[in-house]
């Protein structure tokens, strides 16, 4: 047992170094694309976007120095990585407030919306996928496959727009924008109800576009296992289809399911950009989009950094969970 534990720890350590290296290189890539490329190709310096053109050169120079923009790009990069890694996200060019404070205002909304949608996607996707594979070849199975392929061809923003058009503008059942009424209700129960009412359409849009694909993925994953010997054995023991699926197959396909969920994370966050922009949801995704439009470099870089870190951390957790579930992985 002790050697097994040691193997796990060593595996975790090795993985942690790999993942941390990816964070650094991803930051490098972002710096190259967002700062070096615009600067050398088009000669754009971030100060160009927020300095009042009426200021004198001296005043401009002072402000540039305040933001550290007068230093060479390489030392800016080192400072940028170091401060991000120590949790200093800087100040927004646009509002001049700390990025961290603004982030904390918006994070709960995004976590609420995307957390709910992710959890529901997993639950609904698993249920639909497993039912489809148990009834493979039937009309239900065919309709699951057909509708998930059909829905995968819909852009997320278009689903959002159609929901807005039908339920927001035409039937007027749901609000057309925002994450809470103005002014917000005082009573906590009514506040929650109001929030849920605002969340209904964005949540539906996210679910429509993600459940089908996930269910299809689960179905095909289970299908690859059905010919395996252990499934035949389990059936031969006289277990019901339900028991075979949930007790035997599910455990064996868990590793790819967890990996795909961890890999879906960046997709979910980019989904937040679209959904939050379409539904004017007060969250991180729309913030990132607005900040990019206003050339608010500190915000853009901070949000991208946080997303990379979240992705990498979630993949790391997935690695560990898989390693615990399946000891063979550690030996690789």
């Amino acid at each position: 047992m002790s050697t097994g534990g040691g193997g796990l720890l060593r595996y975790m350590g090795k993985r942690a170094i790999d993942r941390a290296a990816v964070v650094i290189s991803s930051l490098t890539l972002q710096f190259l694309l967002l700062r070096v490329l615009p600067y050398y190709v088009l000669g754009i310096d971030p100060s160009f976007f927020f300095l009042n053109p009426n200021l004198t050169e001296e005043q401009k120079e002072i402000i540039r120095r305040q933001f550290g923009l007068d230093e060479p790009l390489l030392s800016q990069f080192v400072k940028y990585v170091l401060s991000l890694l120590t949790g200093q996200l800087g100040f927004s060019f646009y509002t001049r407030r700390p990025v961290y404070v603004e982030l904390m205002e918006r994070l709960p909304n995004t976590v609420l919306l995307l957390g709910t949608s992710t959890v529901l996607t997993i639950i609904l996707g698993l249920i639909i996928g497993i039912i489809a594979v148990s009834k493979r070849g039937t009309r239900f199975d065919a309709s699951v496959i057909g509708s998930s392929i059909f829905i995968s061809a819909f852009p997320l923003f278009y689903v959002g727009l159609l929901l807005l058009l039908t339920f927001g503008f035409y039937l007027k059942w749901f609000p057309i924008a925002g994450s809470v009424s103005r002014p917000p209700p005082r009573d906590p129960v009514r506040y929650v109800a109001d929030l849920l009412w605002h969340m209904a359409l964005p949540l539906t849009a996210l679910l429509i576009t993600s459940v089908g694909g996930f269910a299809l993925f689960i179905r095909n994953l289970f299908l690859t296992q059905l010919g395996e010997d252990y499934v035949v054995t389990a059936r031969a023991k006289g277990l019901t289809e339900r028991e075979v699926m949930l007790k035997h197959v599910l455990r064996n396909v868990l590793a790819p399911v967890i990996t795909i969920l961890a890999l879906e994370f960046p997709g979910i966050i980019s989904g937040a950009v679209i959904t939050e922009t379409v539904f004017s949801w007060y969250g991180v995704g729309r913030w990132l989009f607005d900040a990019a439009m206003q050339f608010d470099y500190p915000v853009v870089q901070a949000v991208l950094f946080i997303q990379v870190v979240l992705t990498v951390v979630s993949l790391y957790i997935a690695d560990i969970v898989i390693a615990i579930l399946d000891p063979r992985v550690r030996l690789r």
Partner: protein
């Protein structure tokens, strides 16, 4: 992990023969061919230039709405051009002569011994039988030339007279005492002009079209040219070009017009081009990049493999959409930058797959035998590895297109696309921000999205059929 399909070489004819057996594949190919034909023949299908504005009133309804009674009498586009032969001279003072060369009216006043004002009144009648429009406008090209008569001036006024004989002055040139040509930049009036509204005694919020053209019947356009001739032997010439008068229709085209008066249907037709271009180009680039990196990493192995996979993972873990948004905002909006960005961020999965295949082929017995008899790396790659990868290359090429199309549409919807290129995403962007939702203009909102969906769907269906034809493993499984 050998791909048994690789051994059979498939010609296009074989492929089509086999595709016939897959209903979805045939359907996908059919839809795709329709889209390609639309893209190629866009200039012949689209009735108007997609970027041309003011084809009709803003937010016009589709023309076929006239089958519903409440839309039947909405104004259509009325475009009147009045040349020399169309004018009728209502009154003319002594000493003024009116001639015409083709369409141009030539008014000449010869100066005499006394100072005198001479004027001529031209009229044109037209019928207007629709509901009041919101907007009308007009252009009056003219040219004033004064020969040797300092102090003389000419003045041009334009009126509209309603069937109930109300007279509205639409244009007044004021006194022109110098040589002036307004043929290139005709004098114009527009019902949206606030000064015109105020001058006629209406509120700035009124639509002049609704106030003035509010009856059915015969309207008259009246042009009054008056000339003050000083004493002496000089001469004053006023040339009038073709006067234009147009009423902006509120029923137009197949799908009406957008907020700028552009034809929505033409935009829809031309949008096919950019979607196909971006989808296919981005897919080709991303598959090529993935193939090269996958083959090198898988075949060479070792440090090169690790470096390349590290680079691949970096891109794989970078949030794609937010980064593309930021880069396209910071660097600029261009179609080819968009394609490059979409391709740059979509080759990683294929590179990893290719690498896995190449590794399994590299370690196989026949590759080892080939190497043993002295085959070069290039020979092994082109002779043994690439042919085995062909099916998966084809499948990936097709399966990558929908993702690129959807991403392009998303970027255009966020207004990050090339603003000069009509695209479905941008149509939805303008629909959203120009108030199509408040007006419930479903004919503007629904078609572009469906166009995106069916194009993406065609590629998905074709890809699935390809998958089944080229990947026999799947056939056994199902």
């Amino acid at each position: 992990m050998k791909m048994s399909a690789s051994s059979k070489f498939i010609t296009l004819k074989d492929f089509l023969l086999e595709l016939r057996l897959y209903k979805t594949g045939v359907l996908g190919l059919a839809i795709l061919i329709i889209y390609v034909l639309i893209a190629i023949f866009a200039p012949f299908i689209a009735p108007a230039n997609p970027n041309e504005t003011e084809l009709a009133d803003s937010y016009a309804f589709p023309e076929w709405f006239s089958i519903f009674p409440e839309y039947r009498n909405l104004p259509r586009n009325v475009f009147i051009r009045v040349g020399y032969k169309d004018w009728s001279i209502k009154s003319m003072d002594e000493g003024i002569s009116v001639n015409g060369e083709s369409d141009i009216v030539m008014i000449v006043v010869q100066c005499k011994d006394e100072v005198a004002v001479k004027s001529v009144t031209l009229e044109y009648e037209f019928d207007y039988n629709y509901d009041p429009p919101k907007r009308f406008s007009g252009k009056i090209p003219f040219e004033v030339t004064i020969y040797n008569a300092l102090g003389s001036y000419a003045r041009i006024k334009c009126f509209i007279i309603t069937p109930k004989r109300r007279v509205y002055e639409l244009y007044d040139s004021m006194s022109i005492a110098y040589n002036l040509s307004r043929f290139e930049t005709p004098a114009s009036y527009d019902a949206r002009d606030i000064y015109l509204k105020l001058k006629l005694g209406f509120s700035p919020h009124d639509d002049l079209g609704e106030k003035i053209l509010n009856e059915k019947g015969t309207y008259k356009l009246r042009l009054v040219v008056s000339v003050l001739a000083v004493k002496g032997g000089g001469r004053i010439e006023v040339k009038l070009g073709v006067k234009e008068f147009r009423v902006y229709g509120r029923l137009y085209g197949v799908l009406g017009t957008d907020n700028l008066g552009c034809d929505i249907f033409s935009n829809l037709v031309y949008g096919t081009r950019v979607s196909l271009l971006v989808g296919v180009l981005a897919s080709i680039i991303s598959v090529s990049v993935g193939l090269v990196i996958g083959i090198i990493a898988g075949y060479k192995g070792g440090v090169i493999d690790q470096i390349l996979m590290y680079f691949t993972d970096t891109l794989l873990f970078t949030p794609i959409l937010p980064l593309i948004i930021a880069v396209s905002v910071f660097i600029g909006k261009s179609l080819y930058l968009e394609i490059a960005l979409i391709a740059l961020f979509s080759w990683m999965g294929f590179a990893r797959n290719t690498r896995a295949y190449v590794m399994s082929i590299r370690d196989s017995m026949y590759v080892e035998s080939a190497k043993a008899v002295g085959a070069s790396d290039m020979y092994v790659i082109f002779r043994h590895i690439l042919p085995q990868l062909t099916p998966i290359i084809y499948i990936t090429l097709v399966m990558r297109v929908p993702g690129a199309i959807l991403l392009e549409a998303t970027l255009s919807f966020l207004n990050l696309g090339d603003p000069s290129v009509p695209s479905w995403g941008r149509m939805l962007y303008s629909a959203r921000y120009a108030g199509a939702f408040f007006r419930f203009m479903w004919w503007w909102i629904i078609p572009p999205g469906l166009a995106i969906t069916f194009l993406a769907l065609a590629f998905v269906m074709l890809g699935h059929a390809l998958d089944e034809i080229l990947n026999p493993k799947l056939r056994v499984r199902r």
